[in-house]
Symmetry: C2
Subunit: 374 residues, 2 copies
Amino acid sequence: MTGDFAPFTADDYRARMRHAARAAAGAGFAGLLVAPGPDLVWLTGYAPPAATERLTLLVLVPGADPVLVVPKLEAGDAEKAAGGPALTLRDWTDGTSPYAVTAPLLDARGRYAVSDDAWALHLLGLQRELPESAYVSFSDGLPMLRAVKDDAELARLAAAGAAADAAYEEIRNARFAGRKESDVAADLAALLRRFGHSQVDFTVVGSGPNGANPHHEAGERVIREGDMVVLDFGGLVHGYGSDTTRTVHVGEPTAEEREIHDVVRAAQEAGFRAVRPGAACQEVDRAARRVIADAGYGEYFIHRTGHGIGTTTHEPPYMIEGEEQPLVPGMCFSVEPGIYLPGRFGVRIEDIVTVTGSGGRRLNDTAREMAIVS
Amino acid sequence: MTGDFAPFTADDYRARMRHAARAAAGAGFAGLLVAPGPDLVWLTGYAPPAATERLTLLVLVPGADPVLVVPKLEAGDAEKAAGGPALTLRDWTDGTSPYAVTAPLLDARGRYAVSDDAWALHLLGLQRELPESAYVSFSDGLPMLRAVKDDAELARLAAAGAAADAAYEEIRNARFAGRKESDVAADLAALLRRFGHSQVDFTVVGSGPNGANPHHEAGERVIREGDMVVLDFGGLVHGYGSDTTRTVHVGEPTAEEREIHDVVRAAQEAGFRAVRPGAACQEVDRAARRVIADAGYGEYFIHRTGHGIGTTTHEPPYMIEGEEQPLVPGMCFSVEPGIYLPGRFGVRIEDIVTVTGSGGRRLNDTAREMAIVS
C-alpha cells in the first residue's frame, strides 16, 4: 500500500548537511548545533537510543566537515547510521566534559543556531564554556530549514497521507455506538499499522462533549447515538508523518450540527484555496478563520489553522496570524480549522496540503462531507 | 505482586514543591523553572501529552504560590492532574508570546535553576525576554533535588525491584539457544509487564560479542550454545523505576568466562559494600573499579559504576570518579560494574541499592552467581 522507497544514503545526508550549512551561512550563523531528535535524523539518519544527559551534538560549520560529538559508548551506533560515512566522530568518555570537546569545534565569539529541543543542560554547558558565543533557536533563526520538501520526501508524505486515508475509509464502517472511544482509537491504531505506519503517534476519538476539547485524546466515554465524533490520527510511514481529521456523526445529525459541519468544511476549503506560492502563512489562517467568523462562530475556533509536517508531525511553517513567511513550493502543512462548543461537541476537518508551482495539492483526499456512522 | 499504593495527593505535591522551593533558596536561586518531564511529574503529577514547541513551565519561587504557565489548549488537562489543586495556572494562547507571560513571574536579574531537559527554544526565549537573568541546570545547580527518596518512594522502588527480580527468575528458565536476542527480549518485556510494570523502558539481551557493547539492546543475532548473555532490563512500577542486570551463560562456561564473571561479581560486591552515609559517590565507583583493575581488566570497564533512579531510570547521583557528593540515607542508585572484551563477550551485574542509616540495602536480590541457561 505504501510502496517501496530506497532508504536515504550517506550521499543524501551529505547533500542535506551541505544545504543546511549553506542556509546557516546565509542567515549569518557561524554554524548549526543539532541535537538528537528530528533535526538530527533528517540531517544524518542517526537517532541515539534516547536524548539524555550524555551530549550528542552535530556541529555543522560552513566549509568544514560535519562533526558528530558523541558519547564513546554510542560511537559504534553512530558509525552504523545511514549518514555515518558522512560524519567525523569526536567521542568523549564518562567523567570528562563534553563541552570541552565541543568548544574547539566552535568560534568562541560565533553565533550559532541550535535545535529547539536541545536540552537546556547542554546549551548552558556550551554557554559556560564559551561565554562570548551566542545562540538562537532553529525556530527563531532558521525556521524553514526542513520546511521545503524534495521529491523523495514528498513521495513519502503522499504515501503517509494515502495510508491514513485508507485507515479512515475502514473506520467509517466500524461500529461506534455503544463502544468506548478508546476501543475505536485502538481500531484506528491497528488500521494505521495495517496500511503501512511504522509508528502511530495519535488517535484522537473525541465524542460528544469530548470533541469540544481539541486536545482530548480518547477516553472511557461510551459513544452514543446522536454523537458527533472527531477522528484525528496519524503517525509515521517510511519516516514521514501523516495527520488527518474527519468528523463523523452517529446516526442522523440535527440541523445545527449539519450547519456547523458545513461551516468548518467551507473554512477548510477556503484555507486550502489560499495556498499558493508567495502567499504568507497567515493568509491561510485568515482565509479559514474568516469563514468561521462570518458564520458567527469565531470565538469557538480556538487554535491556529495548521502546522508543518515532515519527519515530525508538528514543525514549521505554522499557519497562524503573524506568520509572514511566504509559502514555497514543496512546503507541507495541515489545514485544520475547527469549531468547539464547550460541553456540547466539536467539529474539525484536516488535510495535509503541499504547495505546488501554482497552488496547493492535498495529500489527504477522503470525502470531507460529514459521514454518518452507526 | 507489586502491592497497592495510594496515589500521591495534591498535599503530597504541595509538600514536594515547598521542599523544592526551600532547596532552591538554600542554593541561592531566585527560583526553579521546571519543564515537562520527570521533574514536573515529580513536583505536580502533571505530564502534558508531549513536550513541544508550546511552552509549559512550572515557576517555583520561594514564598510565592507555584504557578504553571500552560498553553490554553492544555489548561484543562493541567487542572485535572493530581497536583492541579496546588497550582495557579497562567495560560497563554497561540500567537502570543509565552515568555512575555512568564517574565512577570520572575525577577529580571534573578538566577534560576532550570530542568536539564527544558528545550533550548524555551530557555533562549526567556534569556531574550530577561537579558539580565541567569540560568543554571538542575544537574549543575541542584543535582540532588530528587535524589533522596522518602518512605513512600522507597516502597515503590522496592516494588519495582521485586517485580524485575521476578521477571529474571522466570527468564532463567526460558530457552536461549537457537532463539534470537529480540525474541528473548520480547519475553522479558512480557514478564516485566506480567509482574506489574506499567511501562517497559529497556530489555537488553547482549549475546556473545554483542554483550561487549554496553549499549547494545537486542537484535537479530541467534543465541548459541557457549554464549555469554547480558540481560539488562527495567521500566516503571507505580511511577518508579527498576533496573537490574544479570549475565547468564548458555551451557558450560570456560575457565576464563568463569573468572571474568567472578571478577565482576566481586567488583559489584565491593561497590555495594562501599555504600554508607557520608561516603562520596566516587568511592563507590573506585571500590568497584579497583577490583577489576587489580584483576587486570581495568581497560575493559568503560563506563561509570552507577546512576540514580527514581521517577526516571537515569538521574543523579552518579557513581563516577570526580563526584564528591556524599551519600545520604534514602538515595537510590545502581551499582553495575562490567567487563567488555571487544568482539568476544561482556559481563555486567547490576543491582539498585539504597543508602540506609548504616550502609546500603539492595532492592534487587536474585542470585548474582552466573546462571547456566539452556
